[in-house]
């Protein structure tokens, strides 16, 4: 890629010619056709049966989890949930192309990547029920996962903030001589935030081994992509920042896998960022607080349901002779049972003791927080029935 940062590098033209967007028309990599066949002109990435099935089962698992947790929210058992239905291939296949040492910095719809790394049903539930077993100590809303042992950075709600952080994390990995990169997930909506521009520019200039993975799923809550940006999507912005870029079909797990694998190789060997724009559709509501019928049609959703990434992958697996339908049905059923049972069990686990309210604000609890905790405990013991979650375990 040419970098024209000096007058001497700039080519000369003699006619007024305004460059417009049409000149940059970035294609979308598709390896697996919507009918589940590998395109003739495409190169199928090498993928052993075991890995392929792990990707498939993780995608199925996440769908089961999403369905069950949305139901649990409707029953008032958890306060909030956010599903990734329709985008399972995008996040699971990208995670599969990484090394477990790579850091994942996620937005909030990437539970598939976390599940691929081995996060268990119990761990998912602990977080969603904000209980005392949860590593974030029940401080954040459901779906704000974080798991140090899985190199999965704890999620923060303010959008886009993780993008420049990912650049910094990756720079640190490089300086420490680690054989690892950072992947940063975000939505096309979040790509409008100032942090996106700051993060990409920093990564490009400072040569950070980071993959920016944009899930372009067509909507940011109710705002459709055409009200979010002009121009050729998010991919063209990567080019603008001098970042190697690829656009992929996000419902095609092979395209996502191949592109992420390549991006990782480039990031690591060339010490530079790569941007992946994964084109998909948010089949689910934005969250359980949202009602998509207020801003889009059932027909539009139905059209996308036909492009289901799980069904597409199943066709590919079947053609390979790797999918035993009966065994798979059983497996999915046991996932359902597992989720249901864990839900019932984890629901009973209490929240953290009240002391945790002042821990982790600083490395040590300063005097004023100690004072506030003492007062709070005294108060709770005076009104135990008003604070039932903690009053039984004040000491």
């Amino acid at each position: 890629m040419k970098t024209r940062n000096h007058l001497s590098n700039v080519g000369i033209a003699h006619q007024v010619e305004i460059i417009s967007n049409g000149l940059l028309d970035i294609p979308m990599l598709q390896i697996l056709s919507p009918e589940g066949q590998v395109h003739e002109a495409a190169t199928e990435p090498a993928l052993d049966k075991e890995t392929a099935l792990k990707i498939f089962h993780t995608m199925q698992y996440i769908r089961v989890l999403d369905e069950r947790m949305i139901a649990a929210q409707r029953q008032g058992r958890i306060s909030f949930y956010l599903a990734c239905t329709g985008e399972e291939a995008s996040t699971v296949a990208s995670a599969a192309a990484l090394s477990p040492d790579d850091m994942i910095m996620s937005q909030y719809r990437e539970q598939g990547a976390l599940a691929y790394r081995g996060y268990t049903t119990e761990e998912f539930m602990n977080q969603m029920f904000s209980n005392e077993k949860e590593p974030n100590k029940g401080r954040q809303m459901p779906i704000h996962y974080g798991a140090k042992e899985h190199n999965f950075m704890t999620i923060s709600s303010p959008l886009g903030t993780q993008i420049p952080q990912a650049s910094g994390y990756a720079y640190g990995q490089k300086m420490a001589g680690k054989e690892a990169i950072t992947i940063c997930y975000f939505g096309e909506g979040a790509a409008s935030e100032g942090d996106f521009h700051a993060g990409l520019n920093m990564a490009a200039v400072l040569n950070c081994p980071v993959i920016f993975f944009c899930r372009n799923n067509g909507y940011a809550i109710s705002t459709p992509a055409e009200e979010q940006f002009k121009g050729d999507g998010i991919a063209s912005r990567g080019i603008g920042y001098g970042i190697k870029t690829i656009r992929v079909d996000g419902n095609d797990f092979l395209a996502v896998y191949a592109a992420t694998q390549k991006a990782r190789e480039i990031a690591l060997s060339e010490n530079c960022p790569v941007l992946i724009e994964s084109m998909s559709y948010r089949l689910a509501a934005h969250s359980t607080s949202d009602d998509p019928t207020g801003y889009r049609s059932r027909e539009e959703e139905a059209k996308w349901r036909e492009k289901d990434p799980i069904a597409r992958m199943a066709l590919w697996l079947t053609a390979k002779g790797w999918l035993d339908e009966k065994a798979n049905e059983k497996e999915v059923e046991s996932m359902r049972q597992d989720v249901l049972q864990e839900l019932k069990r984890v629901e009973q686990v209490p929240v953290c003791k009240i002391d945790e309210i002042v821990n982790d604000v600083y490395d040590q609890v300063p005097w004023h927080l100690k004072e506030q905790l003492t007062e709070l405990k005294e108060h709770i013991s005076k009104y135990p029935e008003q604070y039932p979650k903690t009053s039984g375990r004040i000491n």
Binding site: P158, A220, I357, K389
Partner: protein
């Protein structure tokens, strides 16, 4: 009069303002056809068109920067920040630009027509990033007004006054009350004064002061205290900046005691400012130290939300301590 909840009252104020002045424009994330994630801007786009009511890209610094430009040009922007917690990406535009525009240009230019609406506060299981009360950050910044309604009637009257005030106004809507608070609201145009507190209930032993959703809390605490024979005067600050020191001090001079309740963390919260001023102006009238019942000095937690809240029980206990000092 019609019965409305707070969202409907905000919507009614926006309808009225847009009807009456063509220069009024409403925008922000998801505010267009969808009507905002809370539906405060419902039906506005249908009525006034996409030119005046529109979705913006997801960028708060852009929303406020754009609104600043619009206001400088003479339009009347009412910009929505979806949650008070997400106002911080726009902090620079508000603190360094909005607030200083008139001063730095010697009064030649201003963005006085700008109103920023944002839902704030907790009690909705929102955890760290959907519960914050950021008023104190902005109270440290000369050049913007800060206003908080406590019910639908106030929401409409104060929002109309904010839109028409010739200063930039940060209008903070207590989201816990959006649907919970219902009351009579005139369908026609009316305004309530900015910068004026309201004495909601007279009393003689102690002044209880709050704003927004915490008004309910001090009202409940007052009922508990009254059973013990303590007579509480209840004051709603309504405007956090400029704030009505006169009304507050008059009340304290009468009762001799003051308790301030807010949801934001105690340290450098707005209660600290009020307490200092009252202490300066009413020192000889005070019969006990000014009490603060506030959020803890921690980020806003989820599982321990109930414990974190400066609720009526904590307030009631503080009233008794103040009385028995």
């Amino acid at each position: 009069m019609a019965t409305m909840n707070m969202l409907q009252a905000v919507n009614s104020a926006l309808m009225t303002a847009m009807d009456q002045d063509e220069r009024v424009m409403v925008f922000g994330e998801d505010v267009g056809h969808f009507g905002g994630v809370f539906r405060a801007t419902s039906n506005l786009q249908e009525k006034f068109g996409k030119g005046r009511v529109f979705n913006t890209p997801l960028v708060e610094q852009g929303i406020i920067g754009f609104a600043n430009g619009l206001a400088a040009q003479g339009s009347v922007p009412v910009a929505e920040i979806q949650f008070g917690d997400y106002i911080f990406p726009a902090f620079d535009q508000i603190v360094n630009e909005t607030a200083k525009w008139r001063y730095r240009s010697g009064g030649q230019f201003s963005v006085g027509t700008l109103t920023i609406r944002t839902p704030y506060g907790g009690g909705i299981s929102g955890g760290l990033y959907h519960s914050q009360s950021p008023e104190a950050f902005f109270s440290h910044c000369p050049g913007i007004k800060i206003v908080t309604p406590r019910n639908p009637y106030q929401a409409k009257g104060l929002l109309l006054a904010s839109i028409r005030d010739d200063n930039p106004v940060l209008f903070m809507e207590p989201k816990r009350l959006y649907r919970a608070s219902v009351g009579e609201v005139p369908e026609e145009d009316y305004q309530l004064p900015l910068g004026k507190a309201e004495v909601v209930k007279e009393g003689s032993d102690i002044t209880l002061l709050a704003w927004g959703a915490q008004m309910e809390v001090i009202e409940k605490a007052a009922l508990m205290a009254e059973k013990d024979g303590i007579s509480c005067e209840i004051v709603d600050l309504r405007s956090i900046l400029p704030w009505d020191a006169e009304t507050v001090c008059e009340s304290v001079q009468k009762t001799g005691r003051l308790l301030i309740n807010h949801e934001a963390p105690q340290t450098s919260g707005f209660a600290a400012e009020i307490a200092t001023t009252v202490q300066e102006k009413c020192f000889l009238y005070l019969e006990s130290p000014i009490a603060r019942v506030c959020g803890l000095d921690t980020p806003y937690p989820l599982a321990h939300e109930k414990e974190y809240m400066p609720d009526e029980f904590k307030t009631y206990e503080a009233i008794k301590r103040t009385m028995n000092y």
